[in-house]
Amino acid sequence: MTLDAHWTRAFIERTADVVTESRAALVELDREIGDGDHGENLERGFSAVRAKLATQPDDATPGALLKMVATTLISTVGGASGPLLGTAFLKGAGALGDASVLDADAVVAFLSAARDGVVLRGKAEVGDKTMIDAWSPAVEAASEAAAGGATPATVLRAASDAAAAGAASTEPLVARKGRASYLGERAVGHRDPGAQSSSLIIQAAADTAEEA
């Protein structure tokens, strides 16, 4: 599929579906090392996003649609993940400008700006056991794939695989940011819920891009 506004809408809808399906699993991850609301928070946010999507003008660009996601998440999610994911989408959308179709470089620019936005707000580094552990490897894998001349869909798949591995890599870690940082050694053995949800979002982007 061409990564145009049509793809953007499909990506947003699939993300909303995935978040709904994963609500309980994300709550459970957050219950183990946080406060048990992450799935609930994201579902609240993406339900609002789904509702707003229907009211977007037909000629909305990918950047405009993703900016709507950003502002909606910021106004509806709350918690730590609301401003962080919201900023990710806001900065990512900004990197797309008015483009009506995303090429491989645009995909990299989106992911990279999104990651930088999270770092700007949350000050976390790779290895702090946060959503950065999904976003950062995704950016690197995407850059590498794009540099190798991959299609936009392949770039997203590379990013998605790396994000999934990154989410898994949080399991053995001690957290140094967010609520899980209070657990010390006790966070070891549990996956970070924000890294997991970020990986699911990037995976939704890749899955949608591969559709006919």
Binding site: R31, G36, D37, E40, G79, S181, Y182, R186
Partner: protein, 333 residues
Amino acid sequence: MKKLINDPKDVVTEAVAGLGMAHPDLLTVSLDPVFVRRASAKGQGKVAIVSGGGSGHEPLHAGFVGPGMLDAAVPGPVFTSPTPDPVLAATQAVDGGAGVLYIVKNYTGDVLNFETAADLAEAEGITVATVVVDDDVAVKDSLYTAGRRGVAGTVVVEKTAGAAAERGDSLEQVAEVARRTNAATRTMGVALTAGVVPHAGEPSFTLADDEIEIGIGIHGEPGRERVPLEPVDRIVDRLLGAVLDDLGATAGDRVLLFVNGMGGTPLVELYIAFRRAAEVLAEAGIEVSRSLVGDYVTSLEMQGMSITVTRLDDELAELWDAPVETAALRHGR
């Protein structure tokens, strides 16, 4: 899960609606977006104080809205920081032209959402100052955590800052009182059982029948250690020892001693704990010159308590004593 609720999704709005119906003389509530403000007209020229955070810690914060304390409170979903929108709406509703102070507990979500709200308010021409409360000594304040959490000491900060605003202090002065109160305040808590978040339906953590969590956070975040259940005098010694150490309290100090219930512990137990804490302070030559006992900063139906000590100087004592009239705290005549 056994709770006196309807749909878990409606917990916050229904409770806020009830709060408004129970205290129409004190409070006016907005349900969309959700915030609570004083019923009285906003004080022109008075610094306004806004606080907020996840719900589930009642009476914090909405129970402290009223003359002498907060101008508005913004309750988020249970255990989840509110988004910037209701914070902005509350800010606009109470700004009287002298600026608005945000009192924010130190959690990533609260800090980030209030930060965004402050940006939006500044863009509307409202001056905002923010004070972050981080009184929980259970968390080592280091590069390797999100920093100390804001817990029961928030009540003390809201009270003294509220009194400063009421006497006509400037925004900078009110913020300074809040910062000074926070700097003089330390807390540590213990949990015997966990609360149940309505939409999760299961306890936030699990403790064995003979186990307690020393240093618990108010969202059930774990603390320093799990130890076997012991007599409350020993528990008080642990909590108070950590608090006094960190505060560097010494003989001759005058303090506010605040024993706070987490929601599910009967008052009778809090007074037993207060007794021991007062004895320990007396032995150390520290004077308990003010006190507070009860459920003020809770964690749903968690059984447990926290002990807070604030070192008082004459000004803080006076601000603590100043009249306050809110749903959950009233004194002064």
